[in-house]
Symmetry: C2
Subunit: 432 residues, 2 copies
């Protein structure tokens, strides 16, 4: 059984106007769906970023995969590496790992590796978690991902799009504006009521730290038993970070990426009362020796999309176990293939002791899979079906690809999008 064809399809799906330290989510989020087709209806699925430079690299790698044995993930890496050469995809928004040829290779490798494991599972009749050592939990807990947000996208057409990019249907986004502690608590209540989340993460770095500390305090008051996290995406200086850390002592299970860089994080870590987590300063293998050597982080947010797939993420978890560092899981806006992959991985990692991040509730039920895994009681039940446990819905894929074709967005740029409505807005890290 060999791969006959690797197909890469860019898609777009509605994304609410969520705020972060880089700007504002655009109306459409991009992803790329990967299919490894082996004939006779046997197809392995993967999902990754849909930004144009990344898409170009996926499309450069895809033809090299014809003839691949899905069990030969070492061979997959060799093929991807050869196809890419020293190519590099920029990461202008700084939220999907870091640049560099090896890091780019791991990002391109990831969806194909996931698709290979999906195939292996289907071929052996086993869920992917079994191929990763067996499930240590039947349900993988996820955290409610709280965002400061606007009520809706302003009605501006994206510049240069022809025809003008349609805006998503507002009805699919039932969450109101959230720009202060009360709004954040109301959003948390809405998400907890609907999905049963048992952990809460606030995306910060949007308002001055004082306001975000107030939001954390309001969350603690409203949800006394929910572990809380705050993630300002490196919006703060070292001194600001230490001050916020001291003022949120006892409130946070971890403080995520308060400040940029390993050196800054290490300085904050020395002085902060809670562990620091990261998906920004330790994001690739070559960050591990300096990052762990400097004790910059207490928790790594494993994200298989840039760590090179599920096996490499399991390796990362093993490294974290060995160095006494905790493991959580990061997410960008994603669809149901990624949710399934994260769930299979999370099921097999004894080291994952924190609820994982997911943007799923923000996607309003839009998906490319026919049978998206539901979030119930704050967790996703690990499917017993072979492979990832989800099937592609070809009609949905076509619809979301049509979105992509028409939406006019080819590269995520939260900063420029926000600047359209707030002239002069620019990304600054640190900002406070």
């Amino acid at each position: 059984m060999r791969v006959r064809e690797a197909v890469v399809t860019p898609v777009a799906f509605p994304d609410p106007p969520l705020l972060n330290s880089a700007g504002l989510h655009q109306p459409w989020a991009l992803r790329a769906i990967v299919e490894l087709r082996c004939g006779d209806g046997l197809t392995g699925l993967g999902e990754t970023y849909g930004d144009a430079p990344h898409l170009d690299l996926l499309r450069r790698a895809a033809p090299a995969l014809t003839g691949l044995d899905p069990f030969d993930t070492n061979g997959l890496l060799r093929r991807v590496r050869t196809a890419l050469g020293a190519a590099e995809a920029p990461d202008r928004h700084g939220l999907t790992g870091a640049p560099g040829p090896e890091r780019t290779t791991l990002k391109v490798l990831s969806p194909f590796e996931v698709a290979c494991l999906d195939l292996q599972g289907q071929l052996t009749g086993r869920p992917v978690a079994d191929l990763l050592g067996g499930r240590v939990r039947d349900e993988v807990p996820y955290a409610a991902y709280l965002f400061y947000r606007w009520a809706g996208h302003p009605g501006h057409p994206a510049p240069g799009t022809q025809p003008p990019a349609p805006l998503p249907d507002r009805d699919a986004d039932p969450y109101p504006e959230a720009l202060d502690p009360a709004g954040v608590v109301a959003q948390a209540r809405q998400l907890v009521d609907r999905y049963g989340f048992r952990s809460l993460k606030l995306k910060g770095g949007v308002f001055p730290p004082e306001e975000e500390i107030e939001a954390v305090r309001a969350l603690r008051a409203a949800f006394p038993d929910h572990p809380l996290r705050l993630d300002p995406n490196a919006a703060w200086s070292v001194e600001t970070s230490v001050e916020v850390a001291e003022r949120t002592d006892g409130l946070l299970e971890y403080l995520e990426d308060p400040t940029p860089g390993i050196a800054g994080m290490a300085e904050v870590a020395r002085r902060a009362p809670m562990p620091l987590a990261t998906n920004m300063c330790v994001v690739a293998p070559d960050d591990l020796p300096p990052g762990f050597g400097a004790r910059a982080v207490g928790v790594v947010l494993a994200d298989h999309h840039y760590w090179g797939g599920l096996r490499r993420s399991a390796e990362l978890a093993a490294i974290c176990r060995t160095w006494g560092v905790g493991v959580s899981m990061h997410s960008n806006s994603h669809l149901g293939i990624s949710l399934a992959a994260m769930t299979q991985l999370g099921a097999a990692l004894p080291e994952l002791t924190y609820a994982a991040d997911t943007h799923t509730p923000w996607q309003g039920g839009v998906d490319v899979v026919a049978d998206p895994l539901p979030i119930t009681d704050g967790a996703v039940r690990v499917p017993d079906r072979p492979g990832l446990g989800v099937r592609l819905d070809p009609d949905a894929l076509a619809r979301l690809h049509e979105n992509y074709r028409r939406c006019g967005i080819r590269e995520r740029d939260d900063t420029a999008y926000r600047a359209r409505f707030e002239p002069g807005y620019r990304k600054r890290r640190p900002r406070w």
Copy 2:
């Protein structure tokens, strides 16, 4: 498909009088053969140490494995951990990793994990290498393992054995005495002629360093193109190690465990011109942060028997890759199940850039498998058969178990054995 029964059988096989820094190999080497029987003739194989304390722990763990899904190696670890509690097997000879409950758990885990992977391979029709990411090489190179040695075992019966322990048949051991450079070169020639080895490793720590340096020089003269290694098993002080390192500059691909402990190795590493390798100071996960942090070693000899099996050894290789440390492979006296496991692992590890150690030539063709993998041109061809690729020979297992029953040895003790012939001999590390 579940494990119905885990069977542990101790065996003994003839071992020549090989010298090392701890003493002299006894006439019989001990191993334990593990069978995970699933019914209908489906059995997974593993092999490990046969010393009495380890055997006790294997037998304590075995009943807990009934009902195990062979894909659930996470569950295997939980069962082993629970069965052992805080039990600990001493390692009096210091050649099989290090003591401590977690290290003991990994040692007990290993043969069962290998057997699970053998089962997974048989169930999926795939060689174990495929389950570890696919083979990156079709042949795994091994090094000739040169030993100073006596011609034969003195004819003393082992004390306290009833009936007196039989000595192995001398005819099965075609290698003469080797106690000086000429003897070492002659042994190397014999092994290279027979097996085609392309790398040579000398077990040192037996004679004063000056003599062993001479042996290395003689090997270099006789084999100008063979990479050479010297392994005195921590017989030297830091100063002696540095002196030997300087005097063998340009002769060795690595110097293995010249001196005891991470601190001593780090000091030697700072001053030695060649990388240091280890199977003595970085032998368990909790050695990795201090060992790599101190840059004590440039090469880790992965040994799945004490690193917790094949997947954990692959994790170790990933850690080495990440920290820029090389990977080679260590061996104790072993039989064909271990050779197959080492070969499957070696086939799947891109990081294994050195020829692996093996004692196979010293075992004189004795084995428990019906189809031992041959060493040709210094390498073992990776079998295409599902699982490990070897089958148990029940008659051979019975014969080797009978050896065990009669040989009188229950725990390896090279030091006491040598002291029987050289009263006053004792192990000293460092000795020079």
